[in-house]
């Protein structure tokens, strides 16, 4: 029956392309035993890489969430010239190759760039934390905005207007009317943003300088272990950490999936 054929083909495609590689990461990491994998992932350098990744994420996610909500409100609730342009700019990070993002930062903050003089004054952006943070913020910017905009459109302004006529101040309106309506969209967007921050590789790789124990994020550490240190088990062990985070992300996405509002 064609139904079974379709099901078999479609699922086979997913299995071959997705499940087998991800499963293979676990297989390779634990191939020499759990203890070996644990040792590989608890070296000073690996722990630092994880900490750095989490620190970048811990700053970029709240920043992009707050700015994202503000931008979403601007895009949906206000009319101003250049609104279409703002929309395009917000979506831009999704269309850009991460390499191009890294390049742009490199050109701006490197020697000879517009802000290249900062390095001489002791403010190191490239090859240091600030540059990596800027790269992470850039690539993960659009997600909260894109999740919140359609919800804002859908819920309309009636409830907000009602609250205002009842005397509520703008921030109260936001806190008590708008935000509760968008919070699942925000949560979904936050999960996507977090996943993007943790997994970012290309842009951060260019601006980081790959200084061991100082500017290596966990994805950069994976590549470094594989390509430099001949430590394939180290690379796979770190990959498992990232894969586990990815799986947790997928679970959370399911939990926060925008549901039909049942009022």
């Amino acid at each position: 029956m064609s139904r079974y054929l379709l099901r078999f083909t479609a699922l086979g495609y997913v299995a071959f392309l997705l499940l087998v590689p991800v499963g293979f990461v676990f297989y390779r990491a634990f191939g020499d035993g759990l203890g070996h994998a644990w040792d590989a992932v608890t070296t000073d350098r690996a722990i630092h890489a994880l900490e750095l990744t989490l620190m970048l994420t811990a700053i970029a996610v709240p920043a992009n969430t707050i700015v994202g909500i503000i931008l979403a409100l601007m895009l949906v609730r206000t009319r101003f010239r250049g609104r279409g342009l703002l929309n395009a700019v917000v979506d831009l990070p999704l269309a850009l190759s991460p390499v191009v993002v890294g390049l742009a930062l490199y050109l701006l903050y490197g020697r000879g760039g517009w802000l290249g003089g900062l390095a001489e004054r002791g403010v190191h952006v490239l090859f240091a934390f600030p540059g990596m943070l800027l790269a992470t913020m850039f690539v993960s910017l659009p997600f909260v905005v894109r999740e919140v905009v359609p919800v804002l459109r859908e819920i309309g302004t009636e409830q907000e207007q009602a609250a205002e006529t009842l005397g509520a101040r703008p921030f109260q309106v936001f806190r008590r009317v708008t935000f509760p309506a968008i919070r699942w969209a925000v949560a979904y967007g936050v999960v996507l943003t977090t996943a993007r921050c943790i997994g970012e590789f290309g842009a951060v790789s260019i601006v980081s300088g790959r200084i061991e124990g100082k500017t290596e994020t966990l994805p950069i550490y994976v590549q470094s272990q594989y390509a430099f240190d001949f430590d394939t088990s180290g690379a796979y062990a770190a990959s498992v950490v990232l894969a586990l985070i990815a799986i947790a992300t997928v679970v959370l996405l399911r939990v926060f999936q925008p549901k039909e509002e049942v009022l």
Binding site: P62, I66, V123, L126, I211, E212, G213, A227, F228
Partner: protein
């Protein structure tokens, strides 16, 4: 709430950049891709000395050419340990390394090596000399000469070996073209090339002798052959202008030629340059060994060779690669 978050952001940025600024007693080492284990040992020994006690090190290892460019773009470095002189001289041109960086008794060279062939265990394809590399069906792994220093040593070894066998300059260049026809992939650094070879790609890897020894240490199923005619690899180290301002960096620089450090190099497969140490190690001496300054073979020193062979648009290698692409 917004204000708090923006403030946090600002603090984080400042903290991050402050953390990046140099603290007293920390040395920034920027090196090429292969000597990581060696420097690990040397740094540990240095930290046990009185001059090095309490000194922190920031280390970065990647392809030599890439590292030089990173330093030029602002990567902090007190000591640059690169694969060949031109990469250091590029930094002199940018005003980051003093002109007289090589003015010590070893001309700034901290260790030696030779170009060797790494083959599979048992050498199933019977690769012994440069002529075997261009036999039909043989796949050669060598890194990208525009990013890797090791790749440039490899190319000049190939050229020099042809000249040593009596070929003319033209014929040697024709050999180089055949050589590159047998290269299916050019990883960006010497270490990356070893990784690719270890995965099973290619029949022979051209690399540093110390890298071949490293491969054996790591249990890769390879052996290596030193061709009779091959190039002496001399890898330089330089103090940058910022390194000159740090007593710890200057002390570490001097330490690299101490017998402790030279012995550490030797234990990792690098050939020591200090004669008293080199005497106690039995490194194989190829009968047809030449250097980058062996003029009669057309090897007229790195400055001229770098321009003639490795200029990104007009160099011989660039032209060869272009001609092979179509």
């Amino acid at each position: 709430m917004r204000v708090i978050c923006i403030a946090l952001l600002g603090v984080a940025l400042l903290a991050g950049s402050a953390a990046g600024a140099s603290r007293g007693g920390s040395v920034d080492l920027v090196a090429y891709s292969t000597p990581k284990d060696a420097y690990g040992k040397i740094i540990a020994s240095f930290q046990k000395t009185s001059a090095g006690n309490g000194t922190g090190f920031n280390e970065s290892y990647a392809a030599s050419g890439d590292q030089a460019r990173a330093v030029a773009a602002g990567l902090k470095a007190d000591i640059v340990a690169l694969a060949l002189d031109p990469d250091v001289n590029m930094l002199v041109g940018k005003g980051l390394v003093p002109k007289n960086w090589a003015a010590n008794s070893h001309k700034g060279i901290v260790s030696d090596s030779v170009v060797v062939f790494v083959v599979r265990d048992g050498n199933p394809k019977h690769i012994k000399g440069w002529g075997d590399l261009v036999k039909p069906g043989i796949q050669v792994i060598t890194p990208n000469p525009f990013t890797s220093g090791g790749a440039r040593w490899n190319v000049m070894a190939a050229y020099g070996a042809q000249r040593k066998a009596g070929k003319t300059d033209k014929q040697a260049i024709a050999y180089l073209k055949k050589f590159f026809q047998h290269v299916p992939v050019q990883p960006d650094s010497a270490r990356a090339a070893l990784q690719v070879f270890a995965q099973g790609k290619g029949d022979v890897l051209i690399t540093y002798e110390n890298e071949a020894i490293y491969a054996e240490k790591k249990g890769v199923h390879t052996e290596y052959k030193t061709p009779k005619s091959t190039l002496l690899i001399e890898t330089p180290v330089a103090l940058t202008k910022s390194g000159l301002k740090k007593p710890a960096a200057k002390a570490f620089y001097k330490f690299l030629w101490s017998s402790t450090a030279q012995k550490a190099f030797a234990s990792q497969g690098f050939r020591p340059v200090v004669k008293s140490v080199a005497k106690s190690y039995k490194f194989y001496r190829p009968s047809g060994l030449f250097t980058i300054n062996t003029t009669k073979l057309g090897l007229t020193g790195w400055t001229k060779v770098q321009t003639r062979f490795f200029h990104p648009t007009n160099g011989i290698v660039a032209k060869i690669e272009k001609s092979l692409g179509h």
